[in-house]
């Protein structure tokens, strides 16, 4: 077991973990942040997506020992404002951009990374950025609409 210091959603966490444990399971089991989901363990479905220094990362592929303690990790829990929804979350809600909802945290984190890097993406840019996130309920059309809608409203509250 090793000791690790992680910066998650703006708070520093000291935790014990085996070095080869993935960030996904550390977030879920050690920190109780169960928004990020296990879907494949191979980085192919995107259900585990979190942000590390504003970039979308497949947390199932990242070992806890490989993360710098200064790296800013953000999860779905962290980008949810207290008592409400962000503009992007509202857009997902109002455009019914989910079916069962299991892939949705990963979808929203990938979309958040996209909108931070590119506040006004066209449809091609949305598809390219989101293509690593699978949705078996296949509400892709609604997700694209939700992101387009949020892109129109993303400043100044932020996605």
């Amino acid at each position: 077991m090793g000791s690790y210091l992680l910066d998650v959603n703006g708070r520093r966490h000291h935790l014990e973990s085996r070095p080869d444990e993935s960030l996904l399971w550390v977030l879920r089991d050690k920190l109780g942040l169960t928004g990020a989901k296990f879907g494949c363990g191979e980085g192919m479905c995107g259900a585990c997506t979190v942000l590390v220094d504003d970039k979308a990362v497949r947390s199932c592929l990242v070992s806890v020992s490989s993360i710098a303690s200064e790296a800013r990790i953000e999860t779905i829990e962290g980008i949810t404002p207290a008592g409400g929804l962000s503009a992007l979350q509202s857009a997902f809600k109002n455009h019914n951009a989910f079916g069962c909802g299991y892939c949705t945290p990963g979808q929203i984190m990938s979309a958040t990374a996209l909108l931070r890097a590119n506040p006004a993406p066209d449809r091609n840019a949305i598809v390219a950025a989101m293509n690593g996130n699978l949705c078996r309920c296949a509400v892709y059309p609604n997700i694209i609409e939700a992101i387009e809608s949020a892109a129109g409203h993303s400043a100044p509250e932020g996605p």
Binding site: F98, V127, C135
Partner: protein
Amino acid sequence: MPLSRRQFLSGVGATIGAGATLTYILYTPQSSTVGQKRSPAARQKRLMDKLYPGVNHRDWIRISADGQVTAFTARNEIGQGVKTVIVNVLSQGLELPQERIVVVMGDTDLCPDDGPTTGSNATRLVVWSYWLASFEIRKDLIRLAAGRLNQAAENLEYRQGEIYARENHALTVSYHELANGQVAKIESRDEADYSLNIPAYEDPRSVNVNADDIVTGRMRYTSDIPREECLYGGLVLPPYHKSLAEMLNVDVSGAQAVPGVKKAGVVNRDYIGVVGDSFTAVQKGLAAVKASWKEPEVPQELFVESAIRQGRALVGVLEHRGRPSHDANSSHTVVSETYVSQYGTQVPIEIETALAERNGDGFVIHIGTQNPFAVRRGVAKDFDLAVENVRVISMPAGGAFGAKTSYHTGLQAAMLADWAGAPVKLVPSRRDDIQRSGRYKAAVVFDVVSTVDKQGLIVSQEIDIHQDVGKGTAHVYGIPNVRTSLYESPLPFERAIMRGTSYTQDVWALESHIDMLAAAVSIDPLEFRRRNILEKDFVPLMESCADLMGYRGSSPGNGHGLGFAMINHGASQLGVVGAEVAVDAASGKIEVLRLVGAFDIGLVINSTTAKAGVKGAMLWGLSWALLEEVKLDGHRCHTTGFTNYNIARFKHTPEIEVRFLGDTSGGPRGCGEMPVPPTIAAISNAVYHATGIRFYDLPLTPEKVKAGLAA
């Protein structure tokens, strides 16, 4: 003089617990007088009595003292939004804000067994029963209130769980108080009373009731349940179907040495188990188990079609009418073809997961399942328990699509919990989800020969279906001479069900064949269908679809094509789908540019969830048509995950437009799966239109298309 609330409640001895919000009064129905003509409610009740004897949804609406209404159902949220639709109808039926409605789903201790979440019938059966029940309850409440308040019924109004006199707002009585009293008999037979006001698309009331939880990550699935002293668990699955698998040598010493593994060993004659403190430790432990199984003697033949034909046995003749015969002559053209589709798997993004713990002699199992009562029965049977000793609590499923209908995962979790002496969360790997020791959506071989006359009428048709369950299109075309035979083959796989219809591949084959018949007699494929259809209700759907597509008749493709296909699912859900594709000959890649659909599914209660369901089903069809194939080598499976099983992604998503048409007076008929088969066929037909080449083997991969075009 009306009783005060306190007087009334103390008089009848209703108990209010500490906190005073959750006293349930069971609403006791009276049976309605038998009239000459049955009301819609009575007709629905008869249907439900046949399907789920003893379950009356009027019995399952509970009204509490604080005005909350709770409904109970075995049905579960699997991505179709059924909870929202139940809330929609109860809110309207009982004149209550949606926030007051709670739906308890899939708890075998609390809910009626009103069916598994399969067959696209939750809306038609359960939601509609709740609507009719709530409407009747509301009318009863008005009558009771009229008596209680000494007012004419016309002078009364509903308000947030109370009924009050319009001219004297101080005269009120709550639903809760009324429900405890005598219930008047239903007198009204007026069918117009049952009309439901549908919120318009994008009305806030149609928003999914789980939306806030879903978009914030608060929605809980089985693997998210925190449980003290719970272990993760996994099983070493035999590499073949369990009926063939005979365990030989087992060495778990390597597994026991993995950090985090608590126990590794043989659980029973079928399974080797590993439990540990993390998913990762368990997976490492499973990988370190050395085990061998006796190699079963089954055909090693790789090629699906010949393996399926070999040793086929007739299951039955599904349809036999007239005298089918096929003689080509000057007035008749004969077309004979074979369509083949490969094995598939459902791969919901949430792998089926179960949390099992001992509870006295029995178990409590949390699981995102389509069928909690089947899980309960399976566990009870295996452990020789009365079913009452097994409680299954459904969690929302992260997708299901037919993958979560059986008891296996629930039972495996119970076995592990029993063996480990601790609660166990069974989280399988994606590879194990796919391979499951041999349970796949069946590959199908479909042989068809048809004779068409010069007018484009199909006069005779014979079909041999291998490995599927039915032609499915018996209701679409009126063919005077027909014989449809169903065959099974002794392959070492178990047949899984997959979102679509039970005869998805058959519809793909037959709707593709229809286009070939049309081509053989040089008639436009839509016109050919119009000449042969049985149901006139298809005509507006075909026109709508053609209109959405901008179709002006078939013309040579040049790499760009349009195609259509139809379905009549269960004589109740009608669909016509159109596809527009572009085919690149150099790479063999098919790009679906547009999908359009016109559907007659009766009443659409929530068009937000219905449209998402229908579009999702069309994308499922696209995925099946172009991408999905489980690779089998005899009885070994080489498909392990999303690196080698492709499903539709954002990049595959075309523009999709759908319309709902038809008579809504009969209530909802369901729609979540019916669009799958015609979408596969419409895409296939569009590819034929684009290239002039018919591809007979699903999925239509670039390799197959490139080779076919080069030939």
